[in-house]
């Protein structure tokens, strides 16, 4: 898809740098790696989460297997009534470990209104009571509609323009750009 006003925000190298930065920040705030678990939000948050997981494991040089889950918020949205024809396809949620007492690192690509994260917190609540939930995002584009903030941010880029994230696992290439 070629949009007219396409402006590149992150290229593939900068995406990698951002992920490395996220991993460093997460480790600096979480001394005990055996307590953390990674949960990616469908769809692109899942691929970012997988990359972060790899990065964290490599950096700590550890045999500890960090629990990994994926999460879909569709059944927990507060705006289903306003979706119209763009009704989302429901995807799978799989959190194959007990989240109780874990420090959950929740991962998404873009943080904007905060509503996705609100829904994701509700999903996690139905799985148990983690010790903490920390939010990591590749891009924070500002303009929140709810009092939700990220703990770890790859890049702050405040804009009212829509931001598209493409990842090689799903889109064949790594790039982040404005796509109005």
């Amino acid at each position: 898809m070629e949009e007219k006003n396409r402006k590149i925000i992150l290229d593939s190298g900068k995406i990698q740098t951002a992920i490395t930065k996220l991993a460093d920040d997460i480790l600096s705030k979480n001394d005990d790696i055996s307590k953390i678990a990674i949960v990616g939000i469908q769809t692109r948050g899942v691929y970012l989460a997988k990359r972060l997981l790899k990065e964290l494991t490599a950096k700590k040089n550890t045999d500890i297997e960090i629990p990994f889950g994926i999460l879909d918020i569709t059944l927990y949205r507060d705006d289903l009534g306003e979706m119209g024809a763009d009704f989302p396809t429901i995807k799978d949620t799989s959190i194959p470990f007990d989240i109780t007492a874990k420090n959950i690192i929740l991962i998404d690509d873009v943080l904007y209104t905060g509503r996705t994260i609100r829904s994701a917190l509700d999903v996690l609540k139905d799985y148990g009571r983690p010790k903490s939930i920390q939010l990591a995002v590749l891009i924070d584009r500002g303009y929140r509609e709810l009092p939700i903030q990220a703990n770890f941010i790859g890049l702050s880029y405040y804009t009212k323009e829509q931001i598209c994230v493409e990842l090689r696992e799903v889109d064949g290439q790594d790039t982040v750009y404005t796509c109005n």
Binding site: Y76, L80, A85, F87, T93
Partner: protein, 317 residues
């Protein structure tokens, strides 16, 4: 492909793609079952009515659990205790429920076509939970999903339906769905219980179970309705058992890894031997579990379609 129907009346009128959409939507709902809290808020504030004109425990309970796990409010109406005994017409009953803001009405009735009449007269979404000998679409879908889950495909599988095809709405819905998805469907039973024109639907008719069972991937055993014996449609239970009971010996001719299915409730020792019912090939309890997930998917997709439909309405104004 999106699912854009107001009602689910039968599998005959669904396109292959629509059936695939439903099947593809089931897994996320099934994932909820392994959580400590098995409920999601997707249908919060919606009202689902179970309107059952025929006795049913498992189907009604399955729909009730499905709706409750999606946070809908559920009302059960058993017609023996309702205004129906006072002579209220079907459409009036439906209109009354609609006036009470029912969003989805699930109906079971002994008369084929009843759900369609309701669907034409009401704005609420109608789900057919079994109408006469016509269809039982959610049972057809849960059978399809169970096969899909176990065999990872439907196309090309040889699937045998055993028993009373004539009076079975489960068989009809199975045949519509399975043939559309590319399975090779066989039916076997006493000639009096197999409608001759069933071959027009693209199924192969057998009267000898040992021949029919050869090389099949799935055996779906229908319940023998005991009351049919009084209609002289089969000579005796003893003879039925001799000729058509699915036993371990008979299953030896099926393909290895054959799946044994039964929509329930089972008559052990009649259409199915106890050893088959309890064997590792039997997925009868999994059918029950999948039934809830499939019904959740159907409730969700119909609700989504209602919202989309409402939007279209708004936009066109």
């Amino acid at each position: 492909m999106p699912f854009n129907r107001k009602d689910l009346l039968g599998l005959e009128e669904l396109e292959k793609k629509e059936i695939q959409t439903i099947i593809d939507s089931v897994k996320p709902f099934k994932s909820l079952f392994t959580r400590s809290i098995k409920k999601a808020p997707a249908l919060i504030g919606k009202t689902v009515v179970n309107l059952f004109y025929e006795p049913s425990t498992r189907t009604r309970t399955s729909f009730e659990i499905a709706a409750k796990r999606l946070s809908a409010d559920v009302v059960n109406i058993a017609t023996a205790t309702s205004s129906v005994v006072k002579g209220e017409s079907l459409i009036d009953t439906g209109k009354t429920l609609e006036a009470m803001k029912a969003d989805i009405i699930i109906i079971r009735h002994s008369l084929a076509g009843t759900p369609e009449i309701l669907a034409k007269n009401l704005n609420a979404s109608i789900i057919n939970a079994g109408d006469g000998f016509h269809e039982h679409p959610t049972q057809g879908l849960l059978d399809l999903y169970t096969i899909y889950e176990k065999k990872k495909k439907i196309e090309g599988l040889k699937i045998l339906l055993v028993g009373d095809i004539l009076h079975s709405r489960v068989a009809k819905s199975n045949i519509w769905a399975l043939t559309k998805m590319g399975a090779k469907v066989r039916v076997v039973g006493p000639p009096t219980l197999i409608p001759k024109n069933i071959a027009d639907l693209g199924v192969e008719i057998f009267y000898d179970l040992d021949k029919a069972i050869k090389d099949v991937d799935v055996v779906n055993i229908l319940r023998i309705q005991m009351e049919r014996q009084q209609e002289n449609l089969f000579p005796s239970v003893h003879e039925y058992v001799e000729l058509y009971q699915v036993t371990s010996e008979r299953l030896a001719n099926a393909k290895s890894g054959v799946l044994i299915m039964h929509p329930g409730p089972m008559n052990r020792g009649i259409e199915i031997s106890s050893s088959v019912a309890d064997s590792t090939s039997a997925v009868i309890n999994e059918q029950v579990t999948n039934g809830i997930a499939v019904r959740m998917a159907v409730l969700y997709l119909l609700s989504a379609a209602r919202i989309k439909q409402g939007k279209k309405h708004v936009n066109s104004n």
